[in-house]
Subunit: 118 residues, 2 copies
DNA sequence: CAGCATCCGATCTGATACTG
DNA sequence: CAGTATCAGATCGGATGCTG
């Protein structure tokens, strides 16, 4: 993602942080706890390794995500939220809640129930 | 913006609604009250008429924004938030608050004070 | 004032192949 | 398992000119 030199609007900053098809779901998943790259890829249906790595990198650039590499083979790495990242969850949660409301009003209750969202 | 046939994830739905460079600021501005197209363009620094109309149209497709055309010349139209749109403001507000926090931590207090954001 | 059509460069996404 | 490189197609953003 193209990065700006500086931000003159808080809304623009936050929007940029969660910009990209997979950013919100990545933050959401990491909110559950630290995980490996492959675990994350398994948890997020449809994402490819390249996009996952790219978006994780951008989230690290914004200080939302941190990476913990371990020594030895097989390679092991754990991704987790930083303090900033955890605070960003308030936005993600608000998005999730509104989304559930909208889907309810759109007659998707059955679907939401099946997934335990309501 | 390319629209999906259906959504299987609430987070994805909300993310799509606010997706696009100008969606959050448009919702934010409309949160202050109904305005004309030209007023909106004046309030949002840097936006062109095409993007404004395009993003307003997409927000209407999602049921966030409504348009009220008036008869006579010169032409007059008023854009405003729907009930759904007003509820979406909870997300925009959360984004704004986090953005302010992040900018504060980044030493932008002076800037924020000048704009009356803190 | 409000809105549409077109064109073009910048950016985003994803598939595939390859490395340590 | 974790990560990089490349390439092509889809999408986005913005400038410009035109219409009612």
């Amino acid at each position: 993602m193209k990065m700006r030199d500086s931000y003159t609007c808080p809304l623009e900053l936050t929007h940029d942080i969660i910009r990209g098809k997979w950013k919100p779901i990545i933050l959401w998943q990491l909110g559950k706890g630290a995980v490996s790259l492959s675990a994350l890829q398994n948890d997020i249906a449809g994402i490819g390794q390249k996009m996952l790595l790219q978006h994780l990198g951008e989230l690290q650039d914004f200080g939302m995500v941190q990476k913990e590499p371990y020594e030895g083979y097989p390679l092991k790495v754990e991704y987790s939220l930083t303090d900033k990242g955890r605070r960003m969850l308030s936005v993600i949660t608000a998005m999730q809640e509104i989304g559930i409301e909208l889907m309810k009003e759109d007659g998707k209750e059955e679907f939401l129930k099946n997934r335990g969202l309501i």
